[in-house]
């Protein structure tokens, strides 16, 4: 057990008392701290000015009387102005540096109940900075006047907050609750995505500056923007609504009016006042998706609305003000758009403070499984029926979904649609192997449509998704054309003649039909199967 040293100021008011016996029914912090049955002070460094010499001696005597174990050492610390921060801090720092304090040999408690507020703050700062290597000591009088309010109560506070498990745990729990919330409760595993969500949580909790979410269609920009709004609302950082618009839909004359509102009669068809989206978002959050699609005039107005929080509705002379947080979404490279002159550089600069790039689903393959469960939950919520995979089917689906063959070009939108299809088509609420095989075929057709040179070649229907996935694109293109020719031919021989026409002219091929049969057999295909 290390000896305990208390460092504290003489309380020129609180420690003062009459010199008679009545002082024992008064709570004097410097004396009371030596009276606790669960605190033994071996040494007390009592700091005081020379003008309080007499009081200091008296208090020191009383301390040794109530606590003969305690050795009181007085230290002079004269302040010209005990409320002058610089002076008090400087002199206390000098004291801390000159006093031989050895935390290896002694424990220290820094008493902060006495002294001016400035002195208390300085003691706190010096303790936090470890110039005074101890814990803080707070003392107080007893609540009821039993025992003359002394010794009262004491608490020690360790400024090394990491030791406060409950606070640290709460802090960590809140942060993880927030990020969990931002992820819509999906336990995502992709490290880059999780790191980004942590950053967004950080930014969303501390900043009202615009946020730019980049990422392909269906990557979840809109959902994330809504979750940021909901989180800030939960934390009482904003109170207004979430207003969302896709700028690609704001083309032509209506765009200005939709965004900024108009006055009745401002133009033909303006039969009533319209508030506009910016005003509706007042006190809340405006999510402008596909902001790269916004026209030049609207860009200028938006910039002003962000910078000055004011704008002019169509047909109005006066300004309207609206205070909202902006989140912008884009699937285009806005930097490129600035370079080609289709996006304002100053608006881009405004938006480009907190830019987050949402990866597509194909780049977050480890998140497909948790999102699959999330989509099943959503389906159950929506349709009131819980659908489950059988194990084999689930493995098959995940094997395909996480393979390079799955392009997920529509990202989460594709996954949601895929789950909805399987869930709807599944017999008796179980998604089985057949159901998954058919779905894989559908997904492949969907993605192959967008792939240059690989339109729906009909091969997945012929070979099945699994076998098709094993065929190189190089071979697939050839096979697709071979199959097409076969289907257009009346016989195997005719198809052979067409396919090997050049060789035939050079007389290098003798049996075209046999050559074709052998080629098809490599893919476990035959004439009958191609032309049923």
């Amino acid at each position: 057990m290390k000896p305990l040293t208390v460092i504290g100021f003489l309380g020129s008011t609180l420690d003062a008392s009459k010199y008679g016996p009545s002082r024992w029914s008064q709570w004097r912090p410097s004396v009371a701290l030596a009276m606790h049955e669960d605190l033994r002070v071996d040494r007390f460094l009592l700091l005081h000015g020379e003008k309080h010499e007499r009081l200091a001696r008296f208090v020191a005597e009383d301390v040794t009387s109530v606590s003969p174990e305690t050795r009181v050492e007085r230290r002079h610390l004269n302040f010209e102005n005990p409320w002058d921060f610089e002076e008090v801090y400087g002199k206390l720092l000098d004291f801390a540096l000159s006093e031989p304090l050895d935390p290896e040999a002694e424990e220290y408690l820094i008493h902060i109940t006495t002294g001016t507020h400035v002195a208390q703050i300085c003691l706190f700062l010096l303790t936090e900075a470890r110039y005074l290597p101890g814990k803080l000591l707070q003392t107080g009088p007893a609540r009821r006047s039993v025992d003359g309010r002394a010794p009262g109560v004491w608490t020690s506070i360790d400024l090394d907050l990491s030791r406060y498990d409950s606070i640290a745990t709460r802090f960590a729990a809140t942060t993880s609750e927030n990020t969990f919330f931002l992820k819509s409760g999906i336990e995502t595993r992709n490290a880059a995505f999780n790191r980004m969500i942590d950053e967004i949580e950080h930014v969303a909790s501390r900043s009202r500056a615009p946020i730019l979410l980049m990422g392909p269609t269906g990557a979840g920009k809109s959902q994330l923007a809504r979750r940021i709004h909901d989180l800030k609302r939960l934390k009482h950082q904003i109170s207004g609504p979430f207003v969302e618009v896709n700028c690609a839909t704001l083309k032509g004359d209506g765009a200005m009016s939709a965004l900024f509102g108009h006055r009745k009669g401002a133009f033909t068809g303006a039969i009533a006042d319209r508030a506009g989206l910016l005003l509706s978002a007042h006190g809340g959050m405006l999510f402008l998706d596909e902001i790269g699609e916004l026209g030049a005039d609207e860009q200028a107005m938006i910039l002003r609305a962000i910078e000055e929080k004011t704008f002019t509705p169509v047909g109005m002379d006066s300004m309207v003000s609206s205070d909202f947080q902006l989140i912008a979404g884009t699937n285009r490279d806005l930097g490129e758009a600035v370079a080609t002159g289709s996006f304002r550089e100053d608006l881009y600069a405004r938006l480009n403070l907190w830019t987050f790039s949402l990866p597509g689903l194909a780049d977050r393959r480890e998140d497909i499984e948790p999102n699959l469960d999330y989509e099943l939950d959503r389906f159950a919520e929506r349709e009131g029926e819980r659908i489950a995979f059988n194990k084999e089917a689930r493995d098959l689906y995940l094997c395909f979904a996480t393979s390079p063959a799955a392009r997920w070009s529509g990202n989460f939108r594709d996954l949601a649609a895929s789950v909805t299809r399987m869930a709807t088509l599944s017999p008796r609420g179980r998604i089985d192997r057949d159901c998954v095989t058919l779905e894989i075929g559908r997904l492949e057709r969907l993605w192959s449509l967008g792939q240059p040179g690989l339109k729906d070649d009909g091969l997945s229907a012929l070979l099945g998704a699994e076998r098709l996935a094993e065929i190189d694109l190089f071979d697939r293109i050839q096979l697709a054309e071979v199959v097409r020719v076969c289907r257009e031919s009346r016989s195997l021989s005719e198809a052979g003649r067409t396919l090997f026409a050049a060789s035939k002219r050079r007389k290098t091929s003798t049996n075209d039909a046999d050559r074709l049969r052998k080629y098809l057999a490599r893919f476990e295909l035959d004439w009958g199967g191609l032309n049923p």
Binding site: M1, P21, S22, W24, H36
Partner: protein, 337 residues
């Protein structure tokens, strides 16, 4: 290694003090768990640390777990050294409790010792100096050794600042029997006070006289110097041919003077009405020296939980057993086997 569950029996600090004393005397190490397990603030408090440290000092003991609020302690005793010792104990504790821990070991040391004890001398947690000096030590001296105690300065709660000095000359303890206290020869009441209004003391004395019917001249007021207070204690003393009892009422903030006097007087009245040699406090203090003497007996009032706990700890270390038998006159005969 003797294992002790600190929450058993009386479950307070006495278990610890008795164990330390016995461990030093017998050389048996002990391990105690759930120290003061039955108290509102369990574990070692300041006065217990001081008591254990005092035992450690005189007996070169090694301790594990000796820390504030610790609930577990291992104590390995070394040889007891006679000498000059100075122990200090804060206001909540009492010098008497430290003395209780170190006296018996020093009585059996190889030379005389001198103790200076600083702290409380007259507070609620323990019998006051006068009790130790006039009731307990005379019996110890009758058993062989010579122990002399002097009160240098009173120490009341909360001011403390008391000081007592004790001179110890060891000698083997011989068994004695204290069965008959003899005829009551004198009664007296002393009201110690300082730093309080004088009428407080007058009310104390009046209240005690009302209960006991003792004559006015049996009471004295003793005003102490201001520096020793504030505080008050009413000491009621009954002297018999063969023994003495002192009952004390301690002043407490919030307790009226007449009430503390009345309570003390009623306790004295009950003792006078019994046939016992030892009152409730003397009872548990005699167990240790009698057991170490290897025999002896005394008559007393109904054994307290304190007493039964001390007897249990004594049998753990020495194998000696105390019996308590109720006699026909209502007194209890305590005998060590």
């Amino acid at each position: 290694m003797i294992e002790i569950n600190g929450a058993e029996g009386e479950g307070g600090g006495q278990v610890l003090r008795t164990a330390c004393a016995l461990s030093l005397i017998t050389g048996e190490p002990f391990h105690i768990t759930q120290i003061r397990g039955k108290r509102a603030k369990p574990g070692l408090l300041r006065q217990h640390l001081t008591a254990v440290e005092a035992a450690r000092t005189i007996g070169a003991a090694q301790c594990e777990g000796l820390a504030m609020r610790s609930s577990e302690l291992t104590f390995r005793p070394g040889p007891i050294s006679a000498g000059d010792y100075h122990f200090s104990i804060g206001t909540a504790g009492s010098t008497g409790l430290v003395l209780q821990t170190v006296l018996m070991p020093l009585l059996l040391a190889d030379g005389p010792s001198r103790l200076v004890l600083e702290g409380g001398t007259h507070n609620l947690s323990a019998p006051p100096f006068e009790f130790i000096d006039r009731c307990f030590l005379p019996i110890v001296n009758r058993m062989g050794p010579r122990v002399e105690a002097r009160l240098v300065r009173h120490g009341f709660y909360p001011g403390g600042g008391g000081r007592i000095e004790v001179d110890i000359t060891p000698a083997p303890l011989s068994p004695i029997d204290c069965l008959d206290r003899g005829v009551l020869t004198a009664v007296s009441g002393t009201a110690l006070w300082t730093g309080l209004p004088p009428d407080v003391v007058e009310r104390e004395i009046l209240a005690a006289r009302e209960v006991l019917g003792w004559p006015e001249e049996a009471f004295v007021e003793r005003r102490l110097s201001d520096a020793e207070g504030p505080g008050t204690a009413l000491l009621l003393e009954a002297t018999f041919e063969q023994g003495r009892e002192i009952v004390t009422g301690f002043g407490q903030i919030g307790v009226p003077a007449q009430l503390l006097a009345k309570t003390a007087a009623e306790r004295m009245g009950r003792f006078l009405g019994s046939r016992a040699f030892a009152g409730p406090h003397l009872q548990d203090q005699l167990l240790l020296p009698f057991a170490l003497a290897g025999g002896g007996s005394f008559t007393t009032v109904k054994p307290s939980q304190h007493t039964r706990t001390a007897a249990m700890i004594i049998s753990l270390f020495t194998g000696r057993r105390w019996s308590f038998e109720q006699e026909s006159n209502g007194a209890t005969l305590a005998r060590v086997h």
